[in-house]
Each structure stands twice: as C-alpha cells, then as structure tokens.
Symmetry: C2
Subunit: 241 residues, 2 copies
C-alpha cells in the first residue's frame, strides 16, 4: 500500500499560508506548487546559489509576458502594422512600467532581499519579481493560466493601451517640448522618397537649430519623423524634467 | 433551414491542396484555418495593404518562438543562470539561424514575393516567413501545438544546443583568432574584485597590443572576460573570414 502524501498546504506555517493568500489575491489563481512562488520573490542578494534566486523565473516570465502581450495586441488591433504592435508592446512592458505595476499590485512588498547590502540597486526589484511571478504562474498552471493572470490582473486593470500609447514615449512631442524649453528651432525635412512597386519609403531628418540631429526611415512618413526624433532625443541626451 | 457550409478543403484548388500538404509536412500539424497559413507566406512586396502581409504574423511568431525556447532552455538547464539562458536563446533564434532553418525546412521556397522588385532584400525573407508560420500555427492550433511544432520540427532536428553554444558567437575565441591572425598581443587583466555580502563582482579589461579595448563585469570572472571580449570585438570592427 502506498502512503498518500498529505496535501502540502497542511504542512505550511501561518506565515506561508498568508503568503499563499496574497498570491491568490494578486494573480487570481490558486497556487499549486508553493515552492515556485516562494522562489519568485527570492532576490539573488539572499540566494545561496544564483540558480536558487528568482532570476531564472524572471527570464522565463519576461518571455511569456512578451508572447501574451503580442497575442493580445495582435487580436486587439487587426489593422495595425507590426511596427505599431512592437512599439506599443515595448511601452507596455518597459522596465519603468513593470516597476510601477509591481508597486501598484503590492508585489514589491513581498520580495525578500538582503536589506543590509548597500551595493544593491532596489529600483527594478519589483518589476523583476513581477516577471518572475509570471514565470511561476506559467510553470505552475501553464500558458492559459498565465494568460488569464496577465490579461485580467495586469492589462485590463492597469494598462490602458490608448493611455500607454499617449503617455509613454512620444519622442516627437518630447523633442518639441525640449526645443521650446531651450528656445531652439526644430525642423523636419524630407530627404528622400523612394518608390518600389507598392511601397514608398520616406527618409526624414530632424534639425535642431539647423543642425541635423537624427534621421529616420519608414514606409509611413509620420513614423519616419518619429524615428528621426527618437535618434535626436538620444543624441541630445535629453533629460526628463 | 440553415445551409451547411461545405468543409473548406473541398473548395480548394489542386495547388492549394498541395500547399496544405507541404504545410503538414513542415509543421507536423494538419492545418485548420487555411487562410492564416497562406498569409504566413505572403511577403509585403505583394500585399495590397501592409496588414495583409505576413509581417503581423511574424511579430506574433517571433514572440511565441522566444517564449517556447525560453521554456525549453529553462527546463533543459535547471542549474544555469539567466545570463546563460538569454545568451543561448539569442543564438538559437538569431536572424542568421532562422534564415538557415527556413532554407533547411524548405520554407523559403514557399514564400510569395514580388520577384520584379529590385529594391527588395531577399536575405531575411525565409527567416521571417518561418516566424510568420509559427504565428500561424499558434493562431490556428494554440500554444501547445506551436510548442510541438517548434520542439519536434525545429529544435530537435536542427538545433543542437551544445553545437549552437560552441559554433555561434564565442567572442573570446574570435578575439583570440583575430589576435593570432594579425600578430597582436592579447591580454586580460582583472581590474577590480568587489565584494558585497554573497556576491563577488569581477571587472576585467582586455588589452590588444597593450591598449585597453574592452571592459566587462560579471559575478563570474569568465563571463566578465567574455563581456570584455565582446566589447573589444565590436570596437575593433573585426570581420569574419
């Protein structure tokens, strides 16, 4: 006769049970494999070995998040090209965005890290743990549950795609703000317009006080300007106010 | 009384049926939604509108491929850190690798593109179509079928991970080859070794003929050297023979 294993939950301490309730609240999913969720919140500053921290789960979760957001945007915007989808996705899952989300979702408070390590940058601990948590849900429940968690608990309540689009990096408007702030003249010029059979490719340069600071190309003129603006933004090393 | 739709397959031409057989051969999956597979092979040079080419599917497939490879490597290498996993994955799904795979799998021959368009670079048409095909399988059959296709038909027969690791970019050995070829002296020096509680961070510089050409940091000394070598490789603009 085989001994039946007791359900793991019965062996948990009070503190661990509280942790599982928090995970259920955050993810909307009842954890199966407790260990993997614990690992998701274990920062490398406390890990005995590097593979025993949340960094591997973070790698996995990052990939799963990207895939699920890609699918979401693909379905949501059937008529937008892949440049737009790539752009919106990178804004939705940017480091800054993930850190903010982790804070809103109460994830950063659950991370265990070495508080006496003065070398440690705490800036991305939350965002990284959020990715690790996604990795944990994926391992524990599979792709569909990970998708449900991401869409229901992250995207719908926290990521208004239109808002993401407007608020996050609009290089053209940031560059304009910079020019106005510093009293500089800003101008876009079309350099070339090359036609192949069905596509026209625009090459645009942006000039700040008459000096070329960026060049952008695209089949869409607005996007070419945007790319030029992004280059100028980087070249000018503009700091946000 | 509602008219029953005839199964779509019955409406297909001889040529289309042949196409479906090829898809089944390549993916190991019987296509359900024929339209999405046709789209996967339609290059933008022939598309009426940009969203009617395979570029959106390529965006989706790229994300799904990354996620599935991440999962595969996560399981295959339980003791390797996320730096290693990231590195191996980027080698497995590099543009060059995907183009080669597309050729081996006979995917490039199926792509429809504008043959009279002299502006068109044909280099990545195959690799892009392979990504689009992954997107198509995912849309048609879901994540599990996409995973089966990727693991059984791409990774296992074509991507020997150990081989990928060795053959593709090993910057240290490439740099050494370069030094030997050009009769230059190559040296790595440990600059600093900083300790926080559990981690030691190594900072290494690489010198070519006594001149510092790259600096790398990592908690692992070998990786720090690798990073330094990569920087030097870029700085020296080394061309492959």
């Amino acid at each position: 006769m085989r001994f039946l294993k007791k359900p793991l939950q019965l062996l948990l301490t009070q503190k661990e049970r509280r942790f599982l309730i928090q995970i259920t609240d955050i993810t909307g999913i009842t954890p199966g494999n407790v260990h993997v969720y614990r690992l998701a919140f274990l920062h490398s500053s406390l890990a005995e070995e590097q593979h025993q921290s949340n960094e591997r789960l973070e790698f996995l979760g990052d990939a799963i998040l990207s895939a699920i957001i890609a699918d979401y945007l693909f379905q949501k915007f059937p008529y937008r090209d892949e440049g737009y989808l790539t752009d919106i996705r990178s804004k939705m899952v940017s480091r800054t965005q993930l850190n903010e989300l982790a804070h809103k979702m109460g994830i950063d408070r659950l991370v265990q890290y070495n508080k006496s390590d003065s070398f440690l940058s705490k800036k991305s601990i939350g965002g990284n743990a959020l990715e690790a948590l996604i990795g944990a849900v994926y391992l524990d429940g599979g792709y569909e549950l990970a998708r449900r968690f991401i869409i229901k608990k992250i995207v719908l309540p926290h990521l208004d795609v239109q808002e993401v689009e407007v608020n996050h990096f609009n290089y053209k408007s940031k560059l304009l703000e910079f020019a106005q702030r510093t009293g500089k003249n800003l101008e876009y010029k079309l350099l070339t317009e090359s036609r192949s059979n069905r596509h026209t490719r625009f090459k645009v340069a942006v000039y700040v006080n008459g000096e070329e600071m960026g060049v952008g190309e695209d089949t869409n003129k607005k996007n070419a300007e945007k790319n030029a603006a992004q280059q100028a933004y980087a070249k000018l090393g503009i700091k946000e106010l």
